[in-house]
Symmetry: C2
Subunit: 229 residues, 2 copies
Amino acid sequence: MSHTYDYPRPAVTVDCVVFGMDDEDLKVLLIRRGVEPFSGRWALPGGFVRMDEALDDAARRELEEESGIRPSHLEQLYTFGAPDRDPRGRVITVAYFALVKLSAHHLHASTDAREAAWFSVWDTPKLAFDHAEVLGTALQRLKGKVRYQPIGFELLPPKFTLSQLQRLYEVVLERELDKRNFRKKILAMDLLEELDEVEQDVSHRAARLYRFDHKKYRQLEKAGFNFEL
Amino acid sequence: MSHTYDYPRPAVTVDCVVFGMDDEDLKVLLIRRGVEPFSGRWALPGGFVRMDEALDDAARRELEEESGIRPSHLEQLYTFGAPDRDPRGRVITVAYFALVKLSAHHLHASTDAREAAWFSVWDTPKLAFDHAEVLGTALQRLKGKVRYQPIGFELLPPKFTLSQLQRLYEVVLERELDKRNFRKKILAMDLLEELDEVEQDVSHRAARLYRFDHKKYRQLEKAGFNFEL
DNA sequence: TGACAGGGTGTTCGCCGGACACTATGGCGG
DNA sequence: CCGCCATAGTGTCCGGCGAACACCCTGTCA
């Protein structure tokens, strides 16, 4: 079946930059392409938008189809539409930005025969299309946003230690933070629930676990509170 | 001439939210539609993206065609793609956000038979499509961005008084600012060039004029300086 | 039992943001 | 010409917050 229009139309895709965090590093999800163009190259998960589908829904669907992941945070990032960004012709892509708790998503291998894997964001292979630029934009966004919105927690397991949280901020912001000042500030916000649990299976003194209190955050937010760093 | 594709494709447009500032209020540029759908209604300037044209270029072109305006600041805002946002079918619009010096753009009336006019952003007529939502998103962006990037100056004439600048911030941020603190802070940044001129034709003491020093800003920016409020 | 690998904790100081009120000028009208 | 009006322009104090900074604690493992 074919479709005919009076004027030429670009194709529209969505692509997702999905970030996850393991104990050392910030990771991004990539898919190895199995078809031309750029067959064999790594690329961001994504695909064509259906005619009856909202853009956000398309992003979620493609992500789930290609990796099985349902992100805990998803937002639109930027729309890339350089006329020559896809060798097949005019393709405009609406890029999305997603955060997942890596621990909860041990990639059940390739859901539909495509290979998916996590890469350190500082050390990715050469990417297809303009996906390196998209990734760069997403990193900037993450770096900017993490300081004034509590989205960093979406990258950590539900229960986490303050050291994990600090490492996360250090990796994302690309600078070291003072342990005492960091703890003082984050605890002063009163957004973390101190649990009666400590981490397990570590070969040194075990750290206390905390949980982010979404409900309290929403309350404070309404009252004009601003999360910052 | 017609164009045929294997899969259906959405149409892609750009729409521009153009802000200007007069002595009292923040304004937005609207165009009265002359064709269906929403004929007679006011809408944001915009139109279809050409096949060989970057998105930014499309935004600039449509804006110039419909109003003669060449904005001093233009950036992508957000992409709106709800399946039912246009009664003609699937139309995805990439919205842009633009700032102009109102004084320099006394709308040479309708460049191509369409009616264009400035409206107070707090008091617009009912808008076509989902343009009210687009405008709301743009206002949020302006409000957020004006505090940590010196884009407010794009809304003022090249030479302005500190009172004009303060009024601009008050209108955009929707709150009153203390005159002494505002002046202290903005002057401390050392980004304003104090001119040997005062405003003319006012029926009270004339205020000194200042000019924003773009060059100095770029230097400081490189050195890690951060503009704030 | 000692060494190692993080965990956890307070104080000081300088700066900046916020609150706050009066004098100075210039135009205009009476 | 004098007084009024409308806006311009100016400085201080205080409290809070961010930045710098070092040592003891605890649990594990060899």
